[in-house]
């Protein structure tokens, strides 16, 4: 608790720097990453983040110390080389994109690890902490680092905001952009530069291995919550910043803990939460709406059973008769009866189930849709009468009033379905 207060009341100015740094970093990478996720280029981000490692090591070797300018320039250069090689190989060979990206990723990262080992063997006293670039250590962000990393993050955020419509075109319809005379090649280049920069600014806090997660996961998780680009960017940024600060806090209270993995754990938690609980697109909400739909179909079928009773001249059905029409589904049937009584479509008198006027009309509507669809399949699609029942049984629940009106008009308000059964209308008395 003490740690919690110490951290979140920002008494320590170094914590303020770290939090500002991780917030800018989170916003920048989520912003770029959301576009590359929408552009289906998620893997490229992964390749770039691994590919900056040799550049970091070369920057260190050249500077002889952990100079942020050397390291950032080195990382940017090798990230750029990897991106350029990826597109060059794609346009000059017949290799598929996934093979190219996988090779670039492992070759660059492997070379980076070799350089890292060489540096460690050299016994340079400055090399302590170079390992942090693999998994990140946000607590080690110093004021001078913040100026460089934070400055680059601000640059990314401003460029993306200025070019929002250009980058949307790039992702949605680049050919159209080219057709209206936009320099799409340059815009693609600028976007790649921003993507590499987004990786580079994360190397100190998150580390090269996990930076790809910070690029892609926020956008992917936010996609569950909205269908609008503006909101998507805001939610992605929010997810990213929350995870960034949480991860930093954990690596603050538990020394020896790298920041990157904890940021990714927090992000994954948010992504899982979105996947499960987001309204409309989440698993839970989809399961519930499917269950609701199945219950509705069962109630519809029950009403149809009552209607068939009326067609045979029975003013009511006994509960047993209804249970018999739905074998092995007694509890479900009981539920449906209860909810139909609640909505006033049927009434129950001791053991008898009697439809209300409203219930009769609803039952007629369902039977009517079923038989109209059967007739449509038979007349317009030449499907034999004994083959039309199954799809009608499914579609009767979803045909809209507009579709019903269209069917009635096309079929010229028919009296009989393909099985010579009456198509019931509201004015029919049963």
């Amino acid at each position: 608790m003490e740690d919690f207060l110490y951290f979140f009341t920002f008494q320590d100015s170094s914590i303020v720097f770290v939090v500002i740094g991780i917030t800018l970093l989170g916003l920048g990478s989520a912003y770029v990453g959301t576009y590359s996720f929408l552009d289906k280029k998620a893997l490229l981000g992964d390749a770039i983040s691994h590919a900056v490692l040799p550049g970091i090591c070369l920057g260190f070797i050249l500077a002889g110390e952990k100079n942020p300018i050397y390291i950032v320039s080195g990382a940017f250069a090798s990230g750029a080389l990897a991106t350029f090689l990826t597109s060059w190989i794609r346009s000059n060979t017949k290799l598929s994109e996934d093979a190219i990206i996988a090779s670039i990723l492992s070759i660059f990262f492997g070379f980076g690890v070799v350089l890292l080992t060489v540096i460690q063997k050299s016994g340079n006293p400055e090399m302590a902490g170079l390992n942090q670039f693999i998994f990140g250590n946000a607590i080690a962000i110093l004021e001078e680092d913040l100026i460089i990393y934070g400055g680059l993050a601000v640059l990314i955020i401003i460029s993306l905001t200025l070019f929002q419509k250009e980058f949307s075109l790039l992702v949605f319809n680049p050919d159209f952009g080219k057709a209206i005379g936009y320099p799409m090649g340059l815009i693609r280049l600028l976007f790649n530069v921003l993507m590499i920069l987004a990786v580079v600014i994360g190397i100190q806090a998150i580390g090269v291995v996990l930076m790809a997660a910070l690029l892609i996961t926020p956008g992917a998780a936010a996609r569950f919550w909205t269908d609008r680009l503006g909101k998507l960017l805001i939610i992605a940024g929010l997810f990213s910043v929350i995870s960034g600060i949480m991860g930093t806090y954990i690596s603050f209270i538990l020394p020896q803990m790298p920041t990157g993995p904890w940021v990714v754990v927090c992000l994954s938690f948010l992504a899982l939460f979105s996947f499960l609980f987001a309204p409309k697109k989440g698993v839970l909400s989809r399961t519930i709406s499917r269950r609701r739909y199945l219950h509705k179909t069962h109630r519809d079928h029950l009403l149809k059973a009552v209607h068939h009773g009326l067609e045979q001249g029975k003013k009511y059905l006994t509960i047993e008769e209804i249970y018999e029409s739905f074998p092995y589904q007694k509890s479900k049937t009981r539920q449906s009866i209860d909810s139909l009584i609640k909505t006033g479509l049927i009434t129950r008198n001791q053991n008898f189930i009697i439809p209300t006027e409203q219930g009769k009309s609803e039952a007629k509507r369902i039977v009517r849709l079923h038989r109209l669809w059967e007739l449509y399949l038979n007349e317009y699609m030449n499907i034999a009468p004994d083959h039309v029942h199954d799809t009608a049984e499914k579609l009767e629940h979803i045909l809209t009033p507009e579709m019903e009106a269209l069917l009635e008009k096309r079929l010229n308000f028919p009296k009989l379905d393909p099985h010579q059964e009456n198509i019931p209308r509201d004015y029919d008395d049963l």
Partner: protein, 262 residues
């Protein structure tokens, strides 16, 4: 049967286009009159879309050139509007109908600038023309195929161009939408616009187009509807690929370079 015109709105001179190695268009040479509704007909793989893309500069020709309003493409881009194939974009992109139609105004707006009220008004009036006013804020993935086509056409209208190039705007469209779109295109040509449409249905082509281009990797015909639409031309267009041409294409494919490239 190729009719050339004086003062053409579009002139294509000896255009050869290849993908990788294989040539898909051979020496297309034609000129088109302005203010007409023009259809490009041909079987699958005839190079119809490629021709449109070459006109728009989206593919680089191996040789030949295109002139619009007697100028190069770059000089007159703002007067040309392009409707790509519906399948060429990802409709799951998080955008509303209005967002997509607004893209039509981006060309005149230029880089950096954000669309404002004026652009929104243009977009709304174009949506009105294609009868999609009630879908303004709808997410684009929730639209039917015909509605997506209408959104694309509205976006093209928002460009306020003089020449329109449309790649299969009738693919996946029901009959009533097709008729409505054709009437809209007719209205546009009545106002002096030129509309070029890649199309696949010969029957409706006969009814609606003023001028017809028939392609089958090479130009079979280009001329007024009543002169071009004949059994002989249709047989030349749809009666299979020329045997020798296919053999030459295969031969070129086996080379390590494209000999047609100038």
């Amino acid at each position: 049967m190729i009719t050339q015109v004086d003062n053409p709105i579009l002139e294509i001179h000896d255009l050869i286009v290849s993908y990788d190695q294989s040539p898909v268009l051979w020496n297309v040479d034609l000129s088109l009159p302005s203010g007409k509704l023009i259809g490009i007909l041909g079987p699958n793989g005839a190079g119809k879309s490629t021709l449109i893309k070459a006109i728009m500069g989206l593919v680089t020709p191996s040789s030949g050139y295109v002139k619009v309003f007697d100028k190069t493409l770059e000089e007159v881009r703002s007067q040309i509007s392009y409707v790509p194939q519906r399948e060429s974009v990802d409709w799951n992109f998080p955008a509303s109908v209005l967002d997509v139609v607004m893209m039509g105004t981006y060309g005149k707006l230029g880089l950096f600038k954000r669309p404002g009220k004026k652009e929104k008004d243009i977009a709304l009036s174009c949506l009105d023309q294609v009868g999609m006013m009630s879908f303004v804020n709808r997410q684009i993935s929730e639209l039917s195929g015909g509605q997506q086509q209408r959104v694309f056409i509205a976006r093209a209208l928002a460009q306020e161009a003089d020449l329109y190039l449309m790649d299969e705007p009738f693919a996946g469209v029901d009959m009533s939408t097709e008729t409505a779109i054709f009437h809209l295109l007719k209205e546009m040509t009545a106002k002096g616009k030129t509309v070029i449409v890649v199309h696949h249905d010969i029957h409706s082509a006969m009814n609606y187009f003023d001028w017809i281009i028939m392609l089958n990797m090479h130009l079979v015909a280009s001329g007024p509807n009543d002169q071009v639409m004949s059994e002989e031309m249709l047989r030349k267009t749809y009666g299979g690929k020329l045997n020798l041409l296919t053999k030459v294409t295969d031969l070129i494919k086996q080379k390590d370079f494209n000999p047609l490239k100038s």
